[in-house]
């Protein structure tokens, strides 16, 4: 990673207030993001994967200060985002943007495409009118849409086209960082790759940093050289995508990867999968020690007693799991050899 990251997040915590039904009307807090740290360089994509409800969107929203940060630091370049005042935030808005999962509800239906794309220029940059028009035309063409579409309304477009519009809108002010929250999961497989290829091209041209939130691991691997895996509000493993996918060092990552069905029936019949029992525990009362222990196939005694420390992993990145210092004492090696011994994966 380059010396000066575009985004640096340290020990981020985010909580939600969930009613005041407790004792004496005490407010109950849901700890959705717990001690998350990450860095993204300019022009780089970091993938963020994990189970539904693990806190991926919450982390993305908090990084952009679209929701409040409970504690921790978020820096965009040299600017403090987490502690920014209202006025400072206004200036920050044009430097960071978000693309949401649902292209059907994220665009205001009463605005034309031109109005949607011009809005950030008017609100944040005060660009003169005819210049705005030509910027809109150029941006539409760069996302593969006809400049003439500017006069149309969102409902006149397919899901894939709407997602192009949403991306164009996010890119209008040449932001330094864009959080892409499941940008293709609402789209047809046949059009998903159009959008993925478009995002790669745009990033190549603009040098924008992307935080790509997705539950499709293949999409993340394809798009991002590095990946972070979340479970119940915490990052449990990070590393270069190739290493994390081929040599996972945390049992949750291993389970996640083994669960992706591959479009080859022969392979599906012979593949061994780690089927996780149980369900994601409530973040209101996370398990003691390791948060994954209620579903982990390798759980040991220590796992309920102590939170696992971060261990550096061979080939890059880190994982938080007791198996590295206890039991098989993996010492930073991947889980693959250990799982082969336990006949949890097939040996080719």
């Amino acid at each position: 990673m380059s010396a000066k990251p575009c985004l640096r997040v340290e020990n981020l915590h985010v909580t939600y207030d969930v009613g005041s039904t407790g004792f004496m009307g005490a407010r109950r807090k849901l700890h959705a993001v717990n001690d998350v740290s990450m860095e993204i360089a300019a022009g780089e994509t970091l993938g963020l994967v994990g189970e539904s409800g693990s806190g991926k969107s919450t982390a993305g929203l908090a990084i952009l200060r679209l929701i409040d940060v409970a504690s921790g630091t978020v820096r965009l370049g040299e600017t403090d985002v987490a502690g920014a005042s209202r006025a400072e935030l206004r200036a920050l808005r044009k430097r960071m943007q978000m693309v949401f999962q649902d292209p059907y509800s994220s665009l205001n239906p009463s605005m034309t495409v031109a109005q949607l794309l011009e809005e950030p220029l008017v609100v944040h940059a005060d660009v003169p009118k005819d210049e705005r028009r030509s910027m809109v035309g150029r941006m539409l063409e760069s996302v593969g849409l006809h400049a003439g579409y500017a006069v149309r309304y969102p409902h006149e477009f397919s899901g894939g086209q709407r997602q192009r519009i949403a991306i164009a809108r996010a890119m209008m002010l040449h932001p330094e960082l864009v959080v892409l929250d499941e940008p293709v999961s609402a789209l047809d497989v046949s059009t998903q790759s159009q959008i993925l290829n478009l995002l790669k091209k745009i990033q190549g041209d603009s040098g924008t940093a992307f935080l790509l939130v997705a539950h499709d691991l293949s999409v993340v691997r394809l798009m991002s050289p590095r990946v972070a895996v979340m479970y119940l509000g915490e990052i449990v493993e990070t590393g270069p995508s190739g290493r994390v996918y081929d040599e996972p060092a945390h049992p949750y990552t291993a389970a996640l990867i083994s669960a992706v069905p591959f479009p080859d029936p022969e392979r599906q019949r012979t593949a061994h999968r780690i089927i996780l029992g149980g369900d994601l525990p409530s973040p209101m009362s996370p398990p003691s020690g390791c948060r994954f222990r209620t579903r982990c196939p390798f759980v040991m005694e220590i796992c309920s007693k102590e939170a696992p420390p971060k261990v550096a992993i061979e080939g890059g990145g880190m994982a938080s799991c007791h198996l590295h210092a206890h039991g098989p004492k993996l010492g930073g090696r991947s889980l693959v050899g250990f799982m082969k011994d336990r006949a949890l994966v097939t040996v080719e």
Partner: protein, 340 residues
Amino acid sequence: MSDNTAPLLEIRDLSVQFPSPHGWLTVVDKVSFNVGRNDIVCVVGESGSGKSVTMQAAVGLVQPKGGRITSGSVRFDGQELVGMGNRQINRIRGNDIGFIFQEPMSSLNPAYTVGEQIAEVVRRHRGASRADAWKRAVEALDRVHIASASSRAAEYPHQFSGGMRQRVMIAMAIACDPKLLIADEPTTALDVTIQARILELLRELQRDSGMSVLFITHDLGVVADIARYVVVMYGAQVVEAAPVDDLFGAPRHPYTSGLLGAMPQVALERGHDPIAIPGTVAQAHAWPTGCRFNPRCLYRREGPCTTGALPLTSVDNGLVRCALTEELRPILGRATMVPA
């Protein structure tokens, strides 16, 4: 009454229309396929291609939504369902045919416990006593691996996670031991670890109770995992149908082959960017003439691909609707699956 050698479900030339600003539109166009006994058939296809409407029509659910069946027949276990009276078809649906709808979150009533909701289905269809129905509800929850089923049955939907609610929907659909389970995208909203569990569960139910499954999805990974036979839809029509190994081993229709090439997993394996299918899906009010896929097809040829409507023809072990099938055989065959 039921002939055990005939397929469990036989859909023949089924056509469905819905009203629109452009008049009545044919959104399901002469669709035919079978589901055998103890079988798993998957239907895949583009969004809007008519997958859900086909299933809804098969079990009498399009008329209540303002649609109409304009042709075809649906035989289930020896009985014709098209034209059957409401009361009769309602009895079959829920009893012999379990149905899981595409939007699971909206299909559970937040005001009743999950046990009450399952028991209600059992009472309505089986005329069981309250106590018996409750017992069956708990059993059904247990079969879908909800831990401590007897106490969880007394909880409300909001107390369950998304994956558990999806399993509750499956429990409700199987509570009456149906012969056929129709599952419309039952795992699309879930993440892969929970999806893997639900696929395992469906396979287990099929194996242990002899139930057949008709499964709608747009994920070819899921199809490869669970299907015996696959039906591919595009533009309201079946464009290809074949046993799962044939379909993945040698896709015969350019749309199927394009869909495989667009899968990120396949692209990763082959070390290139996913190959997008260009363009967007045609709409029912403006199908292109000739092959409905032709504006997006890599192999399109003026004339054969753009003139008349194309028939579904028999090729090897399957069926395909393409004018250039023989010509494309060496190009499409296994092309997508073999590392380049």
